[in-house]
């Protein structure tokens, strides 16, 4: 199994470790609920060094990126970030990722850990002339500092004014002489920052942040809380809610597709999908009463199967089962009552408008 540079530190902290797409990662330290609430109320620190970084540079770097992403790169200035899917010619989602505009001829793609190799060869195969691509994933460690206290904590460690750092923007900074990219992004729906730096600096930076966060009750958080936090905000998880069999329209990601921009991979298919409509839609649901639906559970109305759960867990804030499912369009109205087969019985659930929190 692959390990991040902080693997031993997590074990020393008593983390329970899990296999996450081939990576041995901390799933929890103190407990998912404690960590989850800590991020909503104070702050949490996550090691997300398993994420991949792909650098595209050269005269046609911008055009190359524009050709593979569905969102529009023209929205970006230097120091800004774009969330976007990349799609196959048939509109199926290859990955969802962040594009960092380092300069007009230099872009960093931050991609899902399980897709690094796939994304890298996709980019390599669709690169325009005078452009190079490098897989930088081993050269970056990454931490996510998330929660209302994140700004106060980080401010203690850097000189820049974080008040002026807008959502989906980044700056180059230093923490104890180590170069750090600080970006105002995250996967929790809270005020938060993601930090990229050399793996050799990871232990120092982790410890500096933990020390600075002590007065704010900062807690190390694992992937367990990361999952429940993103689910409460209805953020899609690649491999669960989106994959090559789904497209941005069925996945509620229409806002990340710009059909007006010049040709990009998947454009024709996505135009067709938009025109002809689609059968199923990724839909938020809440369990009525007790119980938790999990990924793979089937959804019914009366005895007719109408879809399948792609993410299901427990909301520590609502104290009930929540999730997302692909449901046949006619059953996705807010308030519709559905049934989900969980193990040997059917739980009642209701279609709701997200996010949950």
């Amino acid at each position: 199994m692959k390990k991040t540079v902080l693997n031993q530190l997590h074990k020393d902290l008593g983390a329970k470790m899990t296999d996450f797409g081939g990576w041995e990662m901390p799933v929890e330290y103190e407990g998912i609920i404690t960590e989850h609430k800590s991020v909503r109320k104070n702050c949490g620190l996550f090691d997300v060094s398993h994420m991949g970084e792909i650098l595209i540079k050269g005269k046609n770097a911008g055009k190359s990126v524009q050709k593979i992403i569905t969102n529009n790169l023209d929205k970006l200035n230097d120091g800004q970030i774009l969330y976007t899917p990349i799609c196959q010619p048939d509109g199926g989602i290859i990955d969802d990722l962040l594009v960092y505009r380092l300069s007009l001829e230099k872009y960093l793609l931050v991609v899902n850990a399980s897709n690094i190799e796939k994304d890298f060869s996709w980019v390599e195969n669709h690169l325009l002339a005078d452009t190079i691509v490098e897989n930088m994933s081993d050269q970056y460690a990454m931490l996510a500092l998330q929660g209302p206290a994140s700004r106060s904590i980080l401010t203690k460690l850097i000189t820049a004014d974080l008040e002026t750092l807008a959502y989906y923007s980044f700056i180059n900074e230093k923490i104890l002489k180590n170069k750090v990219i600080i970006s105002r992004t995250g996967y929790t729906g809270e005020l938060g920052y993601e930090l990229y730096f050399e793996p050799a600096a990871a232990r120092t930076i982790w410890q500096e942040i933990m020390a600075a966060g002590e007065e704010y009750d900062l807690k190390p958080c694992g992937l367990g809380a990361r999952d429940t936090l993103r689910l409460e905000k209805l953020y899609a998880l690649y491999g669960n809610d989106i994959d090559e069999q789904t497209n941005p329209f069925t996945a509620n990601l229409a806002w990340t597709v710009d059909l007006e921009k010049d040709d990009f991979i998947g454009k024709q298919a996505l135009i067709e999908i938009k025109k002809n409509g689609f059968q199923q839609k990724l839909t938020a649901f809440k369990i009525i009463g007790r119980g938790i639906a999990r990924s793979g559970d089937k959804v019914y109305i009366k005895n007719q199967k109408i879809g399948q759960v792609t993410s299901g867990s427990y909301s520590p804030i609502l104290k009930q089962g929540i999730g997302m499912a692909y449901l046949d369009n006619e059953y996705t109205k807010i308030g519709a009552e559905i049934e989900i087969k969980v193990r040997n019985r059917k739980l009642k659930a209701k279609v709701v408008k997200g996010p949950f929190v």
Binding site: K16, V27, E28, G31, I32, I33, T34, G224, T228, R290, G291, I292, R294, S313, Y314, P316, K319, R343
Partner: protein, 127 residues
């Protein structure tokens, strides 16, 4: 990981405490730690009868769901009603406040098939 001396244990990670008038059954510290934060608990009705190794309840944590298996045949004479509103008692205090059911055993000799604290410690070491 705490294991209490004076209890019997099953390989399904339940503990059994012998009292004068009944058996008290719960899950071990190892089991609660493996499950993580428990958020829903399903227990049987008082009066239900089970054969050894039957599933008698369900523990659901944020990440996983797990059946509980009865280590000894018998009839349920009480359930821990506190757990309905405070399932976290199982995580916090698995051997006391987190008990699951009280059982009137059908056959006391079934206790002999269970593990001692020492044997259980060895068993989880190997798992």
């Amino acid at each position: 990981m705490s294991i209490k001396e004076d209890l019997y244990y099953s390989e399904d990670h339940e503990w059994v405490k012998e009292t004068e008038d009944c058996l008290i059954i719960g899950v071990t510290d190892f089991a609660q730690a493996e499950l993580g934060d428990i958020v829903f608990v399903e227990l049987p009705e008082v009066g239900e009868e089970f054969d050894k190794d039957d599933s008698f309840g369900v523990l659901e944590s944020v990440k996983a769901v797990s059946d509980t298996f009865i280590p000894v045949s018998g009839q349920v004479i009480a359930i821990n009603e506190e757990l309905e509103d405070n399932p976290e008692l199982i995580n916090e205090d698995p051997y006391n406040k987190g008990w699951l059911i009280k059982l009137d055993p059908a056959d006391d000799s079934e206790l002999d098939d269970l593990l001692s604290a020492e044997e259980y410690a060895e068993f989880i070491e190997e798992e």
